[in-house]
């Protein structure tokens, strides 16, 4: 299973439970407001607490929260564990474009081309301010920091084109700092890699 799939699973898990809780809380609240309106229920009861109930609604949310933490952490591990033998691409962020450098010295601006089905590790850094490399399609994001190398990885099982955006505000043209990710068959990739820039 791909890490992106695990992340989506965590999304469904957390959002699903959240929607149930929201629906439950809102429904109960509305029912109380309608049923115990003053015209229908003029004399309130004096209930101040209920220890058992309070323990239950502390313990159960704690367990739910811990299970969500676990789902989130598990999917995070997937995003951080790069398979052995992944190909590496050096990514350099600058105001306001992305430079991708391959093993053979090939440099490409705002266009990341990778072969289908292969794990790709991106080693990310910046030459100026903070940027952040974001590929929504693969649920990955990592900051580009000058003086530091960070990483992210992904693997594509289908050919296609995706957006790469900068998500750490970096100046006037922050929103124009966009690149394209192209997933192509192995052969096409090799041709591209050897081609003149």
């Amino acid at each position: 299973m791909s890490p992106a799939h695990d992340v989506d699973l965590a999304f469904w898990y957390i959002l699903g439970i959240s929607l149930l809780l929201l629906f439950g809380i809102t429904t109960v609240m509305v029912i109380f407001v309608v049923r115990y309106r003053r015209s229908r229920h003029p004399v309130p009861e004096d209930i101040r607490d209920n220890l058992a109930l309070e323990i239950v609604w502390t313990v159960i949310p704690t367990l739910i929260a811990l299970s969500m933490f676990y789902m989130g952490w598990k999917s995070y591990i997937g995003l951080r564990t790069v398979p052995e033998g992944a190909m590496e691409v050096e990514v350099t962020a600058q105001m306001f474009s992305w430079i991708f450098t391959y093993d053979n010295g090939r440099e490409s601006e705002n266009e990341l081309v990778v072969p289908l089905g292969e794990a790709v590790k991106l080693n990310v850094t910046s030459v100026d301010v903070l940027h952040s490399l974001y590929i929504p399609a693969f649920r990955i994001k990592i900051d580009a920091v000058r003086g530091m190398t960070t990483y992210a990885w992904f693997r594509a099982d289908e050919a296609g084109e995706y957006d790469i955006q900068c998500t750490e505000y970096c100046g006037t043209d922050h929103s124009a700092m966009i690149a394209r990710l192209k997933i192509v068959p192995e052969q096409q990739y090799l041709t591209w890699l050897e081609a003149e820039e």
Binding site: D6, V7, F11, I14, L15, S18, L21, L22, I25, T26, M29, F32, V33, Y36, R37, R38, H41, P42, V43, P44, E45, R48, E54, W57, T58, P61, T62, A65, L66, M68, F69, M71, W73, S75, Y76, L79, D128, V129, L130, S132, Y134, P136, R139, I140, K141, I142, D143, V145, R146, G147, M148, T150, D163, Q165, T167, Y169, C170, G171, H174, S175
Partner: protein, 540 residues
């Protein structure tokens, strides 16, 4: 007799007239009003800036402004909403006004320091305005002032962070006053478990203000030093560490979120019982959860930094702690809803706004779980999802609680009643507009639209266009509520001492309260939310 003694007509110290009676006042109530007008000015300004930004985003490409103006606008919107509205609004206005009264005291412990605190707030505000028109241009870094951008930015960052520094002093002094008043001036008969929950929440908040604010103050000084003297603490080329800045910044700014939300929770804990005519459910649970939030909330700051490049171990620790801090907030929500069970509920504008609060804050809290979980946060971090999430908490939560507090205490503060119909219309418009504005932003974020984007890819156009309409409805609702309140000051429909049937001490004194707050020794109840008397009286 009672009206003649009102704080609005008699100054403290006595004998001061005209402007001196206000600008040199020691009266916590007058200071509350002075904060009210200053903070409302900033709030309306920042709301309008936000509206202009969303108008710009309604169409792709340039709509009404350029990218640089847009960057300055989101910076100013953030700086004002956090430092000039969110942090001070409820403590400085309603805390100043009602904390001493709820404790049975005649003023705060340090009245002159309280006045100084107001002057620092105004001075900081003046400084912020000054920084716009002098120097090298509008600051354009976002309210987070992340390095190294804030070091190299040509904008007037130094002056803006200095303004925030001064506001921090004001916030700390207010916190100091609340803690000392709580301990030293509380009425002799008022034990710890007899204190109203609003005051408890301010007390928990005050400790965070005192302990966390120095961190941001020092950090801002270091940013200025880095800009002026290149000391090499944050700048990587000189051996500095940009992540250090982020840790220091969030070490304050995450607790600041709790400074903003805790008093709002206190407001809701006052309003729900009064209009349900029923004791707050789980009083002690709410007190302890306030304290737990204040403590645990100070230990989760790096959940803003999962993508920053910090270690995976840090991600593990901060994600785990973040989930634990969610629990006391959930306990409060359950307590509020349970308070209504078998109550006798009267609808009113403050109560309606409190119901909106519970709904919107719950959405804010639940979307926070997506951000607290490490794997999912990676995808939505720094996207519109985050923007929508914290607006659910800050505006849907604190903003609606602020309006609830305005409608709840306005009759007490000014001695006048407002019209209900415009208040309801405004509240409904604001709530509906809010949902139509921020739900599309949650979806945009999950689709991958980053925040602080002046322009966007074509797939995000529909969502942004729709969100714009919600924004207009929201702003209309907010302004209508404010207008209705301000117009009530002319109408002179006099408010009785206890228009809602409240049980805390502020409802035992005339509206508006006398200068010394109490004309006779206040009678302290064994339980602050004992409605038996109110219920008995209403039967007669």
């Amino acid at each position: 007799m009672t009206t003649a003694q009102s704080y609005l007509e008699h100054s403290s110290p006595p004998g001061r007239r005209g402007w001196k009676a206000w600008l040199l006042t020691h009266d916590h109530k007058r200071l509350g009003l002075m904060y009210l007008w200053a903070i409302l000015f900033w709030f309306v300004l920042a709301v309008l800036l936000g509206l202009l930004m969303r108008t710009e985003l309604m169409g792709a490409g340039r709509t009404i402004m350029g990218a640089e103006t847009y960057s300055s606008m989101f910076t100013l919107h953030g700086v004002i909403m956090i430092f000039f509205f969110g942090i001070p609004a409820i403590p400085a206005i309603f805390g100043n006004f009602f904390l001493p009264i709820q404790l049975g005291a005649d003023d705060v412990f340090f009245p002159r320091l309280n006045l100084l605190s107001w002057y620092l707030f105004m001075f900081g505000g003046g400084f912020a305005i000054f920084s716009l028109f002098f120097g090298d241009g509008f600051p354009d870094t976002g309210w987070t002032f992340y390095v190294p951008f804030s070091i190299s930015s040509a904008g007037n960052v130094s002056l803006t962070v200095t303004a925030a520094f001064i506001l921090g002093m004001s916030s700390m002094l207010t916190g100091l006053n609340f803690v000392t008043t709580f301990h030293r001036l509380r009425h002799k008969g008022m034990g710890l478990m007899k204190i109203p929950l609003f005051t408890w929440s301010l007390y928990a908040t005050a400790w965070v203000q005192i302990l966390a604010t120095p961190v941001i103050a020092i950090t801002f000084v270091l940013v200025v030093l880095e800009r002026l003297l290149a000391i090499g603490l944050f700048e990587p080329d000189r051996g500095g560490d940009p992540l250090l800045y982020q840790h220091l910044f969030w070490m304050y700014s995450h607790p600041a979120v709790y400074i903003i939300i805790l008093p709002a929770m206190g407001v809701i804990s006052e309003i729900i019982p009064v209009f349900s005519r029923k004791a707050i459910f789980g009083y002690k649970g709410i007190v302890y959860s306030s304290l737990a939030i204040a403590i645990a909330g100070s230990l989760v700051w790096a959940h803003h930094m999962y993508t920053s490049g910090m270690s995976d171990v840090s991600v593990f620790v901060f994600s785990l702690l973040t989930f634990l801090v969610a629990v006391p907030s959930a306990v409060k929500v359950f307590s509020w809803v349970s308070t209504m069970y078998r109550g006798s509920i009267a609808m009113s504008p403050p109560f309606f706004l409190s119901l909106c609060f519970i709904y919107l804050f719950t959405v804010g809290g639940l979307t926070g779980l997506v951000l607290g979980a490490a794997g999912t946060d990676i995808h939505v971090h720094d996207t519109h999802f985050v923007v929508a999430h914290f607006h659910f908490v800050m505006l849907g939560g604190t903003g609606f609680a602020f309006f609830a507090a305005l409608h709840y205490w306005w009759p007490k503060m000014f001695g006048v009643l407002y019209r209900n119909r415009p208040a309801y219309v405004g509240a409904v418009a604001a709530a509906v507009g809010f949902v139509f504005h921020f739900v599309p932003m949650l979806i945009l974020g999950m689709q991958g639209m980053p925040r602080r984007y002046y322009d966007y890819l074509p797939q995000y156009e529909t969502g942004n266009f729709l969100a714009g309409f919600g924004a207009y409805l929201l702003v209309f609702g907010l302004l209508l509520m404010l207008l209705n309140l301000v117009l009530s000051l002319r109408g002179r429909r006099t408010a009785p001492a206890n228009p809602w049937g409240g049980t805390t001490l502020e409802w035992t004194v005339p509206s508006p309260p006398p200068v010394e707050n109490f004309t006779a020794t206040p009678e302290i109840k064994d339980f602050p939310y004992d409605f038996s008397e109110i219920v008995a009286n209403s039967k007669k």
